[in-house]
């Protein structure tokens, strides 16, 4: 009673409408169901044939009925799937439905064996690279056994220790490390230095030549001067032009000198004009001449 009051109080807070709902079950039971349940159960357990009940005690009836021969016919019924013709199909008078797809003969009979055979094939397949790796694997196994046998006599305790590394290692160390490929060594290029020419000498030589040429022309074409510009000489007497070069140079204008120099450019002058010219010359020389040839060229150049 106390329990019932507790339950009702609980319902009152949770679902008050249920407090006043009828407690009675709406389902019906056969008469004397519980009182005869034990006897009915025993009768079913003692069945000799399925579906055929032994004689029940007087006054005892089954609480439910089963059609005659229900259990005998059950297996036959379940093997067929009766087609239930719809009303529409009845009207159309359609022929009995047939499967449109064909199946190879013996397909279903052999299916299970085929599947099992495939499973065995997969289990027996050899992993990739198995045979290539096998010799090394076996060799390592043999070596491992040798070491273990050796330790059995020397220090057996060491055979019982796990050889897995215990030291800490940064996560992903081996996956993330990239091989450090050193940069190619820079071999300094062989420098073949050309002899430096004293640039001022060229200008002096050029100027002298211009002067001498100018003076000679003047002397030749100057009719006022009757002196023989080409005095007779002997080997004992060196020829010296009776010329003041400085004085004659001063007579020449800058444009004439420039013009002369432009037409008679040397490599050093070219370099002044184009800084890369010498480099191009050197590169060409290095690519196309042997060391011996370059050395000979330098020696000739110096002599010149």
């Amino acid at each position: 009673m106390t329990n019932r009051i507790h339950i009702q109080n609980e319902l009152n807070t949770v679902a008050p409408a249920l407090v006043h709902a009828p407690v009675l079950m709406p389902y019906t039971l056969p008469t004397h169901y519980f009182s005869h349940l034990g006897e009915w159960t025993e009768a079913f357990l003692n069945m000799d044939k399925p579906g055929v009940l032994p004689n029940l005690p007087d006054g005892l009836q089954l609480p439910y009925a089963v059609p005659n021969n229900y259990f005998n016919d059950l297996s036959a019924w379940t093997s067929e799937v009766p087609h239930i013709e719809t009303a529409h199909e009845k009207d159309l008078n359609l022929p009995v439905k047939m499967e449109v797809y064909t199946v190879p003969s013996g397909y279903f009979e052999n299916l299970a064996d085929d599947i099992i055979s495939q499973i065995h094939q997969q289990e027996n397949s050899v992993p990739n690279g198995y045979f290539e790796a096998l010799p090394d694997f076996l060799l390592q196994k043999v070596r491992s056994m040798e070491v273990q046998e050796e330790l059995e006599t020397l220090a057996p305790i060491l055979n019982n220790i796990d050889k897995k590394p215990v030291q800490s290692l940064p996560e992903g160390y081996f996956e993330n490390t990239k091989p450090n490929i050193p940069a190619p060594a820079v071999i300094p290029a062989k420098v073949v230095s050309l002899p430096r020419r004293k640039s001022w000498m060229k200008y002096a030589v050029a100027a002298s030549l211009v002067g001498i040429a100018g003076l000679t022309t003047f002397k030749v074409f100057d009719k006022s001067n009757t002196e023989n510009p080409f005095p007779k000489t002997t080997f004992e007497q060196p020829v010296t032009a009776n010329v003041d070069v400085t004085k004659e140079l001063k007579k020449l204008d800058a444009a004439s000198i420039k013009n002369y120099l432009r037409n008679n450019e040397t490599s050093s002058e070219k370099l002044a004009a184009d800084p890369n010219a010498e480099i191009k010359d050197i590169q060409y020389a290095l690519q196309n001449f042997t060391d011996e040839e370059l050395k000979k060229h330098l020696e000739e150049d110096i002599a010149y």
């Binding site: 070596r143 330790l151 020397l154 060491l158 590394p165 215990v166 030291q167 490390t177 490929i181």
Partner: protein
């Protein structure tokens, strides 16, 4: 699956595939060499430095490697020499004596974040660090790398007999330490 050494070397010697061949060699041997070095120098940072030096030497030396010996043996020789050089340098920097150095190495073992003095594997590490350098090398190569004496003699350029004796002494010492500290 790694290619065999001969194929990797052929790749390396082909100018088009040189870097690929080198990378494949590094990938194939990096772990083995790393642990070989680590067991000598103990700390990861030091092992990393030595390993980098080793592979730089490998890059430079592979050009002239003629497969008279196995690639594996050659790599191990470089790694061993670099590890010993590194340890010598450390000793000279710290100006420590041999016995002090062994204590120093033990301390490095204890400094590892995974160190557990109660575990047998760590007691083994401590025992190994108490061995003299050369004995430590021999022990590691035989016990961990399971290297045959014949191959070890080519790596360490020492006779097989001397190596066997060295290993036997080392194994006994290590066992004694573990049993004494059980």
């Amino acid at each position: 699956m790694h290619l065999d050494d001969h194929t990797l070397l052929q790749q390396f010697h082909d100018p088009v595939n040189k870097e690929r061949g080198y990378t494949a060699i590094v990938k194939k041997y990096q772990e083995k060499l790393y642990w070989h070095i680590r067991r000598m120098v103990v700390q990861h940072e030091d092992a990393n430095d030595v390993l980098q030096n080793v592979f730089i030497k490998v890059w430079k030396g592979l050009e002239n490697f003629r497969e008279d010996s196995q690639l594996y043996t050659w790599l191990y020789r470089i790694a061993t020499n670099e590890s010993l050089s590194y340890l010598d340098k450390q000793k000279r920097k710290a100006s420590v004596s041999l016995s002090d150095d062994e204590n120093g190495m033990e301390n490095k073992v204890r400094a590892d974040q995974n160190f557990d003095a109660n575990k047998l594997e760590w007691k083994l590490q401590l025992a190994i660090q108490r061995l003299p350098e050369k004995q430590r090398l021999v022990f590691n190569l035989r016990y961990y790398d399971e290297m045959p004496y014949e191959q070890m003699s080519r790596v360490l350029e020492t006779s097989e007999g001397a190596l066997k004796a060295s290993y036997h002494h080392a194994a006994k010492k290590v066992e004694e330490f573990i049993l004494a500290n059980a």
